[in-house]
Symmetry: C2
Subunit: 400 residues, 2 copies
C-alpha cells in the first residue's frame, strides 16, 4: 500500500492557506488576484510531483500523469467562499497532490474552478465534461458585485486560453475528498464518511402579488398585503413539510424580499427562495408537490396571487458502489469502526464527474459541524488519516 507523508501534506495545506489568509480563515474568491496566484503556485507543485500542469481558460488546473496505463482523476477546488474556512475544497486538492506523489504515473490532479459559485454552478467541472457553452460564460456575472465573468477572466489572464475536456477512456474514475461540513462525524466520534450519494437540490422562487398602498390610510379589511401572504405561506411550509419529508431531508427559506420594503408602505410584491434537498428524487417530488399545493391554497384563499417557479434543479447522484467498498475497506484498515456511509447534503464537483465516470467521495470530520466560516477546522490527525485512506482506496481501484 502507498504510504503518504503527513507532514508534507500539512505543509502544503498551510502554504495554500497563506493565499488570502483572513484571521483564522481564508478569503480567496474565484479569479481574484490571490486565487490566481494560488493556481500558479499549484502548477509548480504539480511539476515538482512529476505531473504536466494545465491551467485552462476557465481556471481549472489539471496536472496529468505521464506514461500509459490506467489513471484515476482525483481533485476538488481551491477557491473559497468570501471570508470563509481554510480547508473546504483545498483539502481535497492537496490530498490529490499527495496521492500523485505516492502513486506516480497513476493520478491526475484536478482543481476545478468556481465550485463555490461566485460566477455560476460548478463551472469548472461542468466545462471539463463539456456542459458549458461559450454563451453561458458570456452571460455569467459575479453574484456579489456583478462583474461580467469575461472581464474577470481577462483580468485573471485567462482570456483566449483553451478549455480542457475529459479524455475518453483515460480514467478508471474520479475520487474527491472534502470536509463533511455537517456535525454527523464530529458528534459521533467517527473519523471518516463514505459518501453514498450527493443530494439533489431543488430551488423554487415563490412570488406573491398584492396591491401596494399607504400603510396609514388603507383599512385592514381592504388590504392586499403581499407580505402577509408570504408569511402565511412560509409558516404553512414549515408546518407541513415534515409530513412529506424524509428524515434526512432539509428545506430552507434563505431569502425574502418585500417590495418596495418601507415601513409605511403595504408591500405590493413579496418574493422568497425555497430550497429543498434530498438524495431521493421521490422525496423531492413529494416536497415539491407540497410547495405547489400550498401555492394553490394561497390562491384559493386570496386576496393575493401566488406563483411558484423552479429556478434550479440538480439530480441526486449515486456514488460508485465499488468505489464506496474500496473506501470502506481502507477506512476499516486504518480506523476500525470509526467510519460510516452517509449522503452528502452539499453539492460537490463529484456529482458532475459522476455523469461521465464512476465517482466517489470521502469526508473527514468538521469540528462542530462548522464550514464556510473562519472557525472551520479539522484535527491534524484526522486530516492525515483521511489522506492515507484515500491513497489506499485509490491504489486498490487502480489495481482493478
Amino acid at each position: 500500500m502507498p504510504q503518504i507523508d503527513g507532514a508534507r501534506l500539512l505543509a502544503d495545506l498551510h502554504r495554500l492557506r497563506d493565499f488570502g489568509r483572513f484571521e483564522t480563515g481564508v478569503h480567496r474568491p474565484t479569479y481574484s488576484d490571490v486565487d490566481m496566484r494560488s493556481r500558479h503556485w499549484l502548477t509548480e507543485r504539480m511539476t515538482e510531483a512529476g505531473l504536466t500542469p494545465d491551467l485552462d481558460g476557465i481556471g481549472n488546473v489539471i496536472g496529468r500523469a505521464p506514461g500509459p496505463g490506467p489513471k484515476l482523476l482525483v481533485g476538488s477546488h481551491t477557491e473559497t467562499q468570501n471570508y470563509a474556512g481554510w480547508l473546504d475544497g483545498a483539502l481535497g486538492v492537496m490530498y490529490a497532490l499527495e496521492l500523485a506523489r505516492v502513486l506516480p504515473g497513476q493520478i491526475d490532479v484536478a482543481a476545478w474552478a468556481d465550485e463555490e459559485g461566485h460566477f455560476g454552478a460548478f463551472l469548472g467541472s461542468r466545462s471539463f465534461v463539456r456542459e458549458v457553452e461559450e454563451a453561458e460564460i458570456d452571460a455569467a456575472r459575479n453574484a456579489h458585485n456583478g462583474t461580467p465573468m469575461r472581464t474577470a477572466l481577462a483580468e485573471a489572464g485567462l482570456a483566449g486560453r483553451h478549455r480542457s475536456h475529459v479524455e475518453p477512456g483515460r480514467y478508471r474514475g474520479y475520487l474527491e475528498a472534502h470536509i463533511e461540513q455537517g456535525d454527523e462525524l464530529d458528534s459521533t466520534g467517527k473519523k471518516l464518511g463514505i459518501v453514498t450519494s450527493i443530494v439533489g437540490i431543488w430551488t423554487f422562487s415563490v412570488v406573491f402579488h398584492g396591491i401596494q398602498n399607504h400603510a396609514g390610510t388603507t383599512r385592514m379589511a381592504i388590504r392586499k398585503d403581499a407580505g402577509v401572504a408570504l408569511v402565511n405561506y412560509c409558516a404553512a411550509i414549515q408546518r407541513h413539510m415534515p409530513e412529506v419529508a424524509a428524515p434526512r431531508s432539509v428545506w430552507t427559506v434563505g431569502r425574502i424580499a418585500l417590495v418596495p420594503g418601507a415601513a409605511s408602505i403595504i408591500p405590493g410584491r413579496a418574493e422568497m427562495l425555497l430550497q429543498m434537498r434530498d438524495a431521493d428524487p421521490d422525496v423531492l417530488a413529494r416536497m415539491e408537490a407540497l410547495a405547489h399545493r400550498l401555492v394553490a391554497e394561497a390562491n384559493a384563499a386570496g386576496p393575493c396571487r401566488a406563483e411558484i417557479e423552479c429556478v434550479f434543479r440538480s439530480t441526486p447522484k449515486l456514488m460508485s458502489l465499488a468505489f464506496q467498498d474500496a473506501l470502506e475497506r481502507a477506512a476499516e484498515r486504518h480506523a476500525p469502526g470509526l467510519h460510516q456511509r452517509m449522503p452528502s447534503g452539499a453539492g460537490h464537483d463529484a456529482q458532475i464527474l459522476a455523469k461521465v465516470m464512476p465517482s466517489a467521495m470521502l469526508f473527514v470530520p468538521s469540528i462542530g459541524g462548522i464550514s464556510h466560516h473562519i472557525a472551520e477546522d479539522t484535527e491534524e490527525a484526522d486530516i492525515v488519516l483521511g489522506c492515507q485512506v484515500l491513497a489506499d482506496a485509490a491504489a486498490e481501484i487502480l489495481r482493478g
Copy 2:
C-alpha cells in the same frame, strides 16, 4: 362669506403639476431642481397675492399677510414622493394661496419642506416650531440615495439662509387641507372629511438572532434559523393583533431582511419593521404590549433569540374641536349630509403645528382611495368644493 375662484385654483394646481410631471403623476422630491423651481414659482404667486414671501434655510416657503389683525396660518407641502401623485400636499398649498386672495390681510400661506420624508420626519414644520437642531440637519441623509442633507441644501441654494420660526401671538391657528388617501369618502359618496385626530405611529424593529449555517449539511433538528423564527412571529402578529386592536387600527410589516440572504445559507439574522397606527394611545399601548408578549414567547420557545426596539413613536394629535365645528358648519352649508368626521390614518404637518396652536384638517375624496401613485386623483368639482368650505371655515374662525 368669501367666494373662491374655482377656475383660478385649478389653473394654479395644473401649473404646479408641470413641475416634475411624470405620466399622469409627478416626481418632485425635496430639494431637487424641479422642486426648487416650484418653490420659487410659489414665491412669485405669493407676491401677486399680496403676501411677503420667505424661502427659508430648510426650504419652507411662507407668505406673510401685511398689516395688523388676527391671522390664520394655512398650508401643506409641495414636494412629492418619488413618481407619485399630483395632488397630495400640493392641493392644500394651492387652497391656502386662494384663501389668501379672498381673505386679504388675514391668511399666511405655508409650504412646509420635506413632509414626505426624503431626508427626515416633518423637517420643515418641525423647524418652524423650533424642534430641529442644526445637528439633526448635519446628520440627515437622503433616504433613497444617501446624499447628505447639507449637500442637498447647498445645491438647492439654501445653505446659509435663516430658518423661519413661528411668531408667538400672530395666529388664531392652523388649517390644512389634503386628499384623504384612503377610500372612506369615495366609497360612501361623501365629499368632505373633517379630521378629528391624526393617528399616532409607532414603529418597532424586531430582530431574530440564530446561527448562520450551510443549508445542505445542517440537519433540521439542530438548526437555529432566524428566518423561521421571524416568519412564526409575523404569523402570530397577524393572528392575534385583531384581538387587541380597535376597528380603525392598522398594522403593517413593510420590510423583512434575512441575513445573509442566499438560497443555500440558513439565515443567522432576520430583521423586520412592524408599524402600528391608531388615534388612541391606549389602543397603541395594547398593540405594543402584544408585540412584546410575542417576542417573549418566541424567546421562551427558542431556539433563536428575539429583540424588539421602538424606532419611531409619534403621539396621536387631537384636532381643535372649535375648528372642527367651523369646518362642519361650512361643509353642511355647501354639501349638506355629504361630510363626516374621521381620523387621519396618515401623518401630516398639522400634527406638528398642533403642538403650538389650535389646528384642524379638511379631507377631500381620493378616487379609489389611491395615493402616492400616478393614478392619484380627485374630481374637479370636489377640489373646488373643498376650497370653498375651507375658505368659509377660515372666515368664521377669523371673525371668532
